[in-house]
């Protein structure tokens, strides 16, 4: 059975949700809907549904929704496919899976193209696409052998799944078990490099995971040993 986990944010997009449900019905992709605003313990709910034979978990919401779900699934032994239906803003994780809107998400769910995605972790929290921090005051130590500093204001991004524009240029390989670091400032020139283990220090700021969760610093970022089977768009290549 498909388990649809509806984030509270879906309340603001009732028309979109109605259309999405119609599309899912046309594709015979009905399932059980669980409203997360009514859930006190998501881990218990997920375990119960998986034990009852859930076939797919579908995150209906934004980055925060999928990040919360993934942080639970990463800590349980069952490996169940996860899909996303992006609703509203802040859906870069869905985009990184090749899912750009709710209608497309229904067809992608139907086609069930599964890619096993290694999760990245910052301390004990998992993230899927990226994490970032402001440049100011940040010291980045890479592979315990060198450090990078920058004075210009901007952000330092740590990608597990790099943006498509970098993949097109073959600058990075999303399956190389490396975190890709991009430093963006107002200067036009960019900085990018990669590392296996990255330590981040900043006394004034916090690390933002998947543009949704915060993590205290210092933090060590690396590719974790956990993976999640994601249902992805046909255009999305991870090779």
């Amino acid at each position: 059975m498909n388990i649809f986990l509806y984030d509270e944010i879906t309340d603001k997009y009732k028309k979109k949700i109605k259309k999405t449900e119609e599309e899912l019905n046309k594709l015979s992709l009905q399932g059980k809907i669980i409203y997360l605003k009514n859930v006190k313990n998501l881990k218990e709910v997920l375990l119960e549904e998986i034990n009852n034979g859930a076939k797919t978990i579908i995150s209906v919401g934004n980055n925060l929704t999928i990040n919360n779900i993934v942080n639970i699934l990463a800590n349980i032994s069952q490996n169940i496919p996860v899909s996303l239906i992006p609703i509203g803003p802040n859906n870069s994780v869905a985009e990184s899976m090749g899912i750009f809107n709710e209608k497309e998400a229904c067809f992608i769910l139907s086609s069930r193209r599964i890619e096993n995605i290694m999760l990245a972790q910052a301390n004990n929290k998992f993230f899927i696409e990226n994490s970032y921090i402001k440049n100011e005051g940040s010291r980045i130590y890479i592979n315990n052998s060198f450090k990078i500093l920058t004075e210009k204001s901007g952000n330092i991004f740590f990608y597990n799944i790099p943006p498509k524009k970098y993949l097109k240029k073959k600058l990075v390989n999303p399956k190389d078990n490396l975190i890709n670091i991009y430093i963006k400032t107002k200067l036009k020139n960019e900085t990018h490099l990669s590392g296996k283990a990255i330590e981040i220090k900043n006394e004034k700021d916090k690390l933002i995971l998947d543009n949704s969760l915060q993590e205290k610093l210092p933090a060590i970022i690396k590719i974790s040993e956990k993976s999640i089977p994601f249902i992805v768009g046909k255009e999305r290549s991870f090779e």
Binding site: S145, F146, K147, T150, L187, S194
Partner: protein, 133 residues
């Protein structure tokens, strides 16, 4: 900057780019091509090529397959292939390479030795002189 028949590495797909506002300190080791437009202090080794931009400042010993220098380098260079030194380059250190081209206006303060065989060039011993505060 260089003659057409001097084939140098294509840096359009460099795996590592150090931007203008970025400082790198420590032992930097890499397998691919590297572009440096910022500053690097320590040591750098790569199995690919290095491009040192005009505004770059490097205080490090360098070991690479190929190298193009347009900025400042304070350290010894060991290049197993072709080294191209541009007109804006300032190098303070000894150079060992297989082939070299030097443009008018470039400054070199150090010994230059050109080997005729790659086999004659032994890699430097790995020094565990890593920084990090």
């Amino acid at each position: 900057m260089f003659k057409k028949d001097e084939k140098t590495t294509d840096f359009n797909e460099a795996e590592t780019i150090i931007g203008e506002s970025v400082q790198v300190k420590g032992h930097f080791e890499n397998n691919g091509n590297v572009i440096i437009n910022g500053s690097l202090d320590g040591e750098i080794k790569t199995k690919g090529a290095i491009l040192v931009g005009e505004k770059a400042k490097i205080t490090a010993n360098v070991e690479a397959e190929e190298m193009i220098v347009k900025g400042n380098v304070n350290g010894n260079l060991k290049i197993y292939g072709y080294l191209a030194i541009g007109e804006s380059a300032k190098i303070f250190g000894d150079i060992e390479c297989l082939q070299i081209s030097i443009e008018k206006g470039a400054e070199i303060n150090g010994q230059v030795s050109i080997n005729n065989k790659k086999e004659n060039m032994l890699p430097r011993d790995t020094e565990e002189n890593n920084i990090i505060e």
